[in-house]
């Protein structure tokens, strides 16, 4: 028996890279390539259904079993902290989760008591400062342009993802500490892994094989 597999993708570049990879791995994803505003794209013949979701919602759909599989950044997984299987590191969408601030603070971060930290990722921030560094901080949740916060005195430092570091540099900020390496991950619902193993396991194997092949050929991460 082959089951219908529902895949939740993070709308945007991550989704496109994931579709490229799945296609290279031998799955027909023409349904997902359809240019439309529909949020559920289904291909009954291929046995695949795609859900286009906001990145932060992908783990939710997968945890609740509305989607069997999801592709999402490690940053979202760390922030959402949901109960699911995190099975493959896809390698693309690579960046780092960092504590950033004025370069002058380099190495002196621990000397500021009761820091104010601005971030789009309050959970990651809390678990890093309270769990790993064992210090209490005031967390200020922002929704974007977090780099502003230290510039105008809202916070001493920020926690954010850093790709090239250009935005930071142009705003006179620097990476102070690295919290974690981030990249896109394949996640699987805990029940689907058992109940739909016959369809899901081969798909995961095909993705792994394709990744290995790309690595062997020294191929760059598929660009879009």
């Amino acid at each position: 028996m082959t089951d219908m597999i529902t895949i939740a993708l993070s709308k945007g570049r991550l989704a496109e890279q994931a579709i490229d990879l799945l296609e290279a791995a031998g799955y027909d994803c023409s349904a997902a390539r359809e240019k439309s505003r529909r949020l559920i794209l289904e291909d009954e013949k291929a046995g695949l259904r795609f859900i286009m979701a906001k990145p932060a919602d992908v783990p939710t759909y997968v945890e609740y079993g509305c989607a069997d599989i999801g592709v999402v950044g490690k940053d979202t997984l760390l922030e959402e902290g949901r109960q699911l299987y995190e099975v493959i590191d896809l390698g693309f969408g690579a960046c780092r989760m960092c504590v950033c601030g004025p370069a002058a603070l380099k190495g002196k971060l621990d000397q500021i008591p009761n820091k104010r930290v601005a971030s789009k990722y309050p959970h990651i921030t809390r678990s890093y400062f309270e769990g790993t560094k064992r210090e209490s901080v005031e967390i200020i949740k922002l929704n974007g342009s977090v780099e502003l916060a230290p510039l105008i005195g809202l916070a001493e430092v920020i926690v954010d993802i850093v790709e090239s570091g250009r935005t930071l540099r142009e705003n006179g900020l620097d990476v102070l500490e690295v919290i974690a390496d981030i990249s896109a991950r394949v996640i699987v619902n805990r029940v689907s892994m058992k109940m739909k193993a016959q369809s899901i396991m081969p798909m995961l194997d095909a993705i792994r094989a394709q990744l290995a092949k790309q690595k062997e050929q020294g191929e760059e991460v598929p660009s879009v």
Binding site: Y64, Q83, Y85, E86, I88, R185, R190, V191, K194, M195
Partner: protein
């Protein structure tokens, strides 16, 4: 301040007649099944002292509903069935000779871990088998869990069996301290092979140890999985754990339940709590396990009695969701008949007597209290899906009609 008089709090909901009737019927089936297996049902209070849950450190306080009594002591709503039953076994039943077989069907109250969507009040049916540490006891509880799911109509069922001692044995063999072992177990539980590999390198595991570690989240099967690991481990504790699972599979085969069972040694939740086999039950159409159970020999000792314990709980709410999504229709609740009568003298007495007779015969009968005439009664029945309409005109004339749907 808002006015919440029209609302129910987050995570709780009203249960409407159709659903309620289905739930009662399922509860009744489980109650019978547990009793047939020699399990005595108990009811523990809906409110416990906070200390009951806090002392064992098995439940994180964020998940407990807390209130206080008039003396300022902290109370907690019933969070699960096991801990109160453990309290009973160590206090009220302190002198009862083991084994004790107890069951419960009750509502639990939990702040869900990540919020949103999941119910905070939900019904669990479960059993605890206390005072036996044998593999037969492990298997009895798993078999009863399988029977429970089958009994209420969940036939697409998969049970995964794990063993916390296997992992603890490996950590012992590789000399990994408890705190780090916890982190590793989390990676395994999430099948996060990336983090797991990094951890293996950090602890400088040998190549073969690393290979074994990486196999834990990857392998699930039945005897083949056990064989694969048996070749790789030398630690006695881990070997005994594998043997325990092997025997459980043998016994479950005697029950005729082999087809529902598989082995997954990567199931490693709550290592403080579980001291032996762990199992979970899955079905289609719900994203969470419907059954959760295992052996927890240290729980009763928190309350001062050293008593082995094994048990499971089944979430009735999740099972009902699964049944509905799997296309099992819940029958709409409708009375069998509606009975009306004219204003002729003596008709009321006749109608009430007739209703009683029908009820004694097992039918559910509504008696009209609004003085409806025959026509009104018919349309009343039609609106409410009631099959039979009876109207008493006078002592000679009783008109019975079938409501055509």
């Amino acid at each position: 301040m808002g006015n919440y008089r029209f609302h129910t709090p987050d995570g709780v909901s009203d249960m409407l007649p159709e659903e309620c009737r289905t739930k009662r019927a399922l509860e009744q089936k489980l109650r019978k099944l547990f009793a047939a297996g020699g399990y005595s049902e108990v009811e523990t209070p809906g409110i416990e002292f906070f200390d009951v849950y806090a002392s064992g450190n098995f439940v994180s306080q964020e998940n407990l509903y807390k209130l206080s009594d008039q003396d300022g002591r902290i109370l907690s709503l019933r969070y699960d069935g096991t801990i109160p039953v453990a309290r009973l076994a160590a206090t009220v039943f302190r002198d009862a000779p083991p084994p004790l077989r107890l069951s419960y069907i009750e509502n639990m109250y939990r702040f869900s871990e990540s919020g949103g969507g999941r119910q905070r009040e939900f019904c669990q049916a479960g059993v605890e088998l206390l005072g036996l540490s044998s593999t037969q006891a492990d298997a009895e509880v798993i078999a009863l869990a399988i029977s429970s799911a089958l009994k209420i109509g969940i036939t697409d069922l998969q049970i995964s069996i794990g063993q916390s001692e296997f992992f603890k044995g490996l950590m012992e063999e590789w000399d990994i301290p408890t705190e780090d072992a916890e982190e590793i177990s989390r990676h395994i539980d999430q099948k996060d092979t990336v983090a797991l590999e990094k951890a293996a390198d950090r602890y400088g595991l040998s190549a073969s140890a690393k290979e074994t570690l990486m196999l834990i989240p990857a392998l699930f099967g039945t005897y083949d999985t056990l064989d694969a690991f048996a070749e790789r481990v030398t630690n006695q504790r881990a070997k005994a754990a594998l043997q325990n699972v092997r025997e459980i599979l043998d016994i479950l085969d005697d029950y005729g339940y082999t087809k529902y069972v598989s082995v997954d040694l990567g199931m490693l939740r709550s290592l403080d709590y579980y001291t032996g086999m762990i199992f979970k039950g899955f079905t289609y159409e719900v994203g969470f396990p419907i059954i959760s159970g295992g052996r927890y020999d240290k729980v009763v000792s928190v309350f001062g009695r050293d008593l082995a314990a094994v048990g499971f709980s089944l979430s009735l709410n999740l099972c009902m969701t699964a049944l509905r999504r799997q296309g099992r229709e819940f029958l709409p609740m409708a009375a069998d008949a509606v009975l009306g009568y004219s204003s002729e003298p003596g008709m009321r007495k006749l109608a009430l007597a007739m209703a009683e007779d029908l009820r004694k015969a097992g039918q559910s009968v509504l008696v009209d209290c609004e003085g409806m005439d025959e026509e009104q009664l018919s349309s009343f029945a039609e609106e409410r899906n009631i099959d039979q309409v009876i109207f008493l005109h006078d002592s000679q004339n009783c008109c019975e009609g079938e409501n055509v749907k």
